[in-house]
Symmetry: C2
Subunit: 497 residues, 2 copies
């Protein structure tokens, strides 16, 4: 067998083991009784060790080098697959086993402390574990920077956004930070001239919310022979491409969040289902990165499902599902409700106009912490100042400030920018799809997603990780690299027109 | 680190990976959409390979030999653990990695085909996959027979019933096959002198059946912080000791089967929960074997929950749960119903008098198939003849004949005899518990299982796999090795007294 063929065999096993871990994570969030937690950590750690063992096998480096020499005999997909194999290998083997173990334990310790420190609004309680974790993350970033030949922050970013650089994101986010405050004022002014949206009165029984969500998921193209919808505290899209499992949480007093949350996760699910079947078990058959993944959920949620045509389709279905009555159920009211702009303290509750500010705050702070320009003890003050500068709001406490997100406390550094890169990519992809097929918005008004999803399948999903960056994928799909102009145009059309 | 200490580290990882596989199996039977099957097969195969890799590591043989030389420094539990490690190692390394992978995939393929072939009553549809699987099972049996120094059938049996032999089982089953027909006639004669039990009229909504089942599970000692109850086609007890997952299937026309099935699985679950915490991740901390496992479910179901005292406790609860009315709900009627003897075609529906006949049919047939004395294509005819000879009933089709059980189609050969060995051990253990604490039957009449469960915890559960055979465990718990006399005495007391 060729070195490349041997690599395919090994990576197939690796993918299968990672999927097993993914399913155990899904189970942990949806099915597992509390008493199963300690054993689950042990099971997941054993899977991590098994996965690491496949990549850390001393033969792996030679196999990669030999396969790269064979490169001329490989077709473009195989070459892209080999590129992704090396990327994975570099990330996983850049750290020595001691650092891997220390990081894993520090993450667990910090996350566990955070789980009680956040509700207790007690940053000081998590600070020692946070400081220890950050020191190890910096050490890992340093090691990966050497292996990848880039800066430490870019090395962290690369895991979530292949090929992404802080230099590029700085330019995009600086422009956005300059554009957004003025835009926000204008959007709020225009909003003030319109009727205040009414909130449909509940209660909304869970069973009815779920039935409506399932009906819409099927409309969009979710196949329940290959997936599930369940409940978890923090909604997510898990499972595997043949068996995509999305979750939501229901509030019987307000159906709107769970419904739009399900449509968001359905976007993630469509991407997973649409990945190239031929490369199902190989690195090149996986998603291109987290920015592209988020672009797929935000395209379905923000671009398609919060659009006026779709809400016009949705309104009578929602009214019927909940036996609603009165003007709160009118499409124009629901449209104003689903597109209301309101600066707030919490990222996950933010509208799409203010959301980037939440991301920029986190991105700038995490870069400073990785560069040792900001001591963890000074994070709360720096957070509050940034929020005031960018959103005009000062958090009254750390619970709704720098303690609100799990990411840093769980060791996910370099992840936050992908949310806003994804929002921009979503606008750019949707605009390109509509340019190619101008009937798409009208079809959404009939609840018909087929043309839109077919375009996404062809131009995004089916490419997996064939392209080595979000830019390269977007260039292929839309004719140009990531360009914030489409996002700004979208915001202007939706919030100022 | 000592060789023994190193082995504990490695077996801890192995146990954790096996638990991951166990949870994926549970998910497959309860949660997975049909479209996830092929990927699940791949994930489970990768886990099998990872587990096999831990045991097949060339260092493992030396570690075991060195640890065995260190034996004098080990305490009795460590020595028992080492014995179980070697047993596991011999079983797993007897097979080459290619055979392990081929078996895993063939099992999955055959089981998936069986899942549709059984309802379609189409033995021919499953025959190719069945034949392929049997050939691989025979190859594995042959390889293990060499490694263990026993016959191929005993080598398969050893995996489920450590130290068990067909020679011993033949003697027990031949005696039983001689005893049962006469006993059955007498039991049926006596039954004919009593009122025919009335079946409580339904329907019995699933939600109410489940609520009653959960209430009784908690009574017996099932802890829902450490377990779940779900629905599957084929009821089983899965999960892990900290998170035991039992399943059932509900029939809205008859609550009695699901209820007693849940109590049966609860017996399995209690065993898992009661295994020694100190040895949670080690081979010696696992169940002693499948006969002992089945003894725990049958002790709870047959010995405790079908006893007159418990049914006296159950009857008013069931009546209230289903708002039942009339004499069908009287305890003496339910007692006759739950202890009715009636030869039938289906093993899982069989009463405890005729159940052994079902097992003996399977045991004798599987021995012949492993010995190549019976071609798979001839199984349906051989099955029907055996059933006629032993129970006087000829199945009208294969759905209710040789397709009825999952075991062979899932690769579990050498498993069936453990059901009847378990039934005998259950009778022996229950008699010993009552001899030590004569108040147990009266306590069951109040729904109080605490004394019985405490006795089981102390004398069975807490020992894990410390003893090397069912006989040794029974000797410790009851003062003698497995002795069918207790089972016969139980049958005589219940069905002839």
């Amino acid at each position: 067998m060729s070195a490349y063929g041997e690599l395919e065999t090994r990576f197939r096993r690796l993918t299968a083991l990672r999927e097993a871990a993914g399913l155990l994570h899904w189970d942990m969030s949806t099915m597992m009784p509390a008493g199963g937690a300690a054993a689950r950590s042990e099971q997941l750690a054993a899977l991590d060790i098994a996965c690491h063992g496949i990549l850390a096998d001393p033969a792996m480096g030679d196999l990669l080098a030999t396969a790269e020499e064979e490169g001329a005999d490989l077709d473009p997909w195989q070459r892209a697959n080999l590129r992704e194999m090396r990327r994975d290998w570099v990330h996983q083997t850049a750290l020595g086993p001691d650092l891997v173990e220390a990081l894993s334990k520090a993450r667990h310790r910090c996350e566990m402390t955070w789980r009680t420190a956040r509700p207790a609004n007690d940053f000081a309680a998590v600070l020692p574990a946070f400081r220890e974790l950050l020191a190890l993350v910096r050490e890992a970033a340093q090691a990966k920077a050497v292996a990848l030949g880039c800066s430490p922050y870019d090395a962290l970013l690369d895991e979530f956004e292949p090929g992404g650089t802080a230099a590029r994101i700085d330019r995009i986010f600086d422009d956005l930070a300059a554009f957004l405050p003025g835009f926000l004022s204008r959007a709020l002014e225009r909003q003030a001239t319109m009727p205040t949206p009414m909130v449909p009165p509940g209660p909304f029984p869970v069973a009815r919310q779920e039935a409506l969500a399932r009906r819409l998921m099927e409309r969009i193209g979710f196949d329940f022979d290959h997936g599930r919808l369940d409940v978890s505290l923090h909604p997510f899209c898990g499972g595997v491409p043949d068996d995509v499992r999305i979750t939501t949480r229901y509030d019987e007093g307000d159906f709107t969040k769970a419904l739009m949350g399900v449509l968001h996760e359905t976007g993630h699910a469509l991407y997973e289902r649409g990945l190239p079947e031929r490369w199902r078990w190989q690195p090149v058959g996986q998603a291109c990165g987290m920015a592209v993944h988020e672009s797929q959920s935000l395209l379905i949620e923000m671009q398609a499902c919060r659009s006026a045509p779709f809400i016009t389709f949705l309104a009578p279905l929602a009214r019927a599902a909940f036996e609603g009555d009165g003007p709160a159920w009118d499409a124009d009211n629901l449209c104003r409700l689903y597109n209301r702009v309101e600066p707030g303290l919490i990222r996950v509750d933010a509208d799409e106009v203010t959301y980037p500010a939440h991301v920029i705050v986190r991105y700038r702070l995490e870069k400073r912490m990785i560069a040792s320009d900001l001591d963890p003890a000074d994070l709360p003050a720096a957070w509050n100042e940034s929020m005031e500068a960018l959103l005009g709001l000062r958090p009254p406490d750390d619970r709704d400030g720098c303690l609100q997100d799990i990411h840093w406390y769980d060791g996910a550094w370099g992840y936050f920018p992908t949310y806003t890169l994804g929002a921009m990519a979503a606008a750019q992809l949707f605009a390109a799809a509509v340019a190619e097929n101008p009937d798409i918005p009208a079809a959404l008004g009939c609840g018909d997603f087929s043309a839109l999803v077919a375009w996404l399948r062809r131009n995004v999903h089916a490419w997996g990780a064939f392209y080595d960056s979000t830019d390269a994928l977007l260039e292929q799909a839309t004719g140009r690299a990531l360009d914030p102009a489409a996002f700004r145009a979208h915001l202007e059309r939706r919030y100022l027109a």
